[in-house]
């Protein structure tokens, strides 16, 4: 009896500990897929941006190819149009998606270029629903005594493969910020999506030039 009691308790404890793991198995696995997706691809992106052997054009092209394979630009673009997505002519929406793709590529390249010498460490993930995950990472600068920055990536898996739909730096989500800007701009321009397209195209060209 003396022996069996601790064993029984241990067995119960082991079962109780294992139960949530067993129940959370598929979700945890999907979370791991999202984590692995972020881990692999963000390192690839940072490697391209810090590769000094590449010319400016090669670096831009390689980064763009990688980014467009990872990011669901169409979904983000439609989200950032806010309520104007429903009222704009379909051909304007399609033209906007194209302009947004060029703008987003230039803007993301500009943001990530600042972090080329830093390393990214995946620290975990949170499930919003079965196909929506927030992957938490820490951006560590090996040459600085500052605390690492928290960078979160939102990954959707509803299309069969993981895609990136948003990124947050220290809790600030980029798509939310873009949506507020675009909606404000459209509000000032009578909801004319073509004006926004022209402005985005101009910004994409300027972002491709070195800062003055």
């Amino acid at each position: 009896m003396r022996l069996s009691m601790p064993l029984t308790r241990r067995a119960m404890l082991a079962t109780a500990t294992a139960l949530p793991l067993i129940k959370a198995g598929p979700a945890a696995a999907a979370g791991n897929v999202a984590e692995a997706f972020v881990d692999d691809n963000i390192h690839k992106g940072l490697a391209i941006l810090s590769d000094k052997k590449l010319s400016v054009t090669q670096r831009r092209d390689q980064f763009e190819t990688l980014l467009l394979g990872l990011v669901d630009v169409r979904r983000i673009g439609l989200f950032t149009l806010g309520q104007y997505r429903r009222t704009a002519p379909p051909e304007d929406v399609e033209a906007f998606i194209n302009a947004f793709k060029n703008y987003a590529t230039a803007a993301y390249q500009s943001y990530f270029a600042k972090y080329t010498n830093q390393t990214l460490k995946v620290t975990g993930s949170t499930k919003r629903n079965d196909t929506d995950y927030i992957v938490q990472t820490l951006l560590i600068d090996p040459n600085s005594s500052q605390q690492p920055s928290e960078v979160d990536f939102r990954v959707r898996t509803d299309t069969g493969k993981p895609v990136l739909v948003d990124v947050a730096y220290q809790g600030i989500w980029l798509s939310l910020e873009e949506r507020d800007q675009f909606v404000a701009f459209l509000g000032q321009n009578n909801g004319n999506v073509r004006t926004l397209i022209a402005h985005l195209s101009e910004l994409a060209v300027n972002l491709g030039k070195p800062p003055q």
Binding site: F79, A106, A107, T126, Q147, W173, D180, L207
Partner: protein, 240 residues
């Protein structure tokens, strides 16, 4: 006496915040004073361009990174009593304990807070202010405001600024050159903040379709993150 006037102004701000209605959607922005705010942002940008940024560039060129870090640490150490009080007012006892330990360790071993040994032994810094305390107590932010010099705010956070100044122990000690000390501290706080955010702000300005609404969104998301102490729920994010 001055801080009492500040408190009165702050109470007016709270009333204003209480009167503000909930926005119908996030993009509606709860920004009834947008035109005035845009004008203030333009004036602030001129002050930045002609007064603040030239000093910031000089500061970045003349003072090495270690020196700037020392200034940042020193100013952060001066804020710790205020952070401690706000930790307590929010019922965050564990964080209050950390603030107290940081103050003790950094003021002594860290030589008046110039160095930050507390972080190295696992007590990293965190921010708290009375604007966040009011938010934890359930006070709504109220309409978006751009304050002269200070920039993005709202009645709740503007009230917080005044209350924080009132409870800061260094503002309670009156000595011969107190005014110079207070002015110098404010100036270096601004310089420290601007030098840390200089590149980021330049990047946002360069890539923004509408810098004003970009700044408004950044400010709101940043404050929500601060109020939640990084514990905001991903369930609150919109579906898309």
């Amino acid at each position: 006496m001055r801080w009492r006037q500040g408190l009165l102004f702050g109470l007016w701000g709270l009333v204003l915040a209480g009167c503000a209605t909930t926005p119908p959607s996030p993009e509606a922005a709860n920004d009834p004073y947008e035109q005035i705010n845009r004008d203030t942002l333009r004036r602030n940008a001129k002050v930045d361009k002609y007064v603040v940024l030239p000093t910031v560039r000089l500061y970045l060129q003349m003072v090495p990174e270690d020196g700037r870090r020392g200034v940042h640490n020193f100013l952060g150490n001066l804020s710790l009593p205020t952070i401690f009080v706000n930790d307590m007012l929010q019922g965050e006892l564990s964080r209050a304990g950390k603030s107290m330990w940081r103050l003790v360790i950094n003021s002594t071993v860290g030589i008046a807070g110039i160095w930050d040994p507390a972080s190295k032994i696992g007590i990293p810094g965190h921010g708290e202010d009375f604007g966040q305390t009011l938010a934890v107590w359930g006070v709504k932010e109220g309409p978006y405001l751009i304050l002269p010099i200070f920039g993005p705010s709202n009645p709740r956070d503007a009230t917080g600024l005044l209350v924080d100044a009132a409870i800061d122990p260094t503002n309670q000690i009156h000595f011969k050159h107190h005014l110079w000390w207070a002015a110098g501290r404010e100036y270096f706080t601004l310089l420290d903040l601007k030098s840390q955010t200089y590149q980021t702000v330049q990047g946002i300005q360069r890539s923004s379709v509408d810098y004003y609404s970009s700044l408004r969104n950044f400010y709101r998301q940043y404050r929500n993150e601060q109020i939640g102490n990084g514990r905001n729920q991903p369930q609150d994010l919109p579906d898309f």
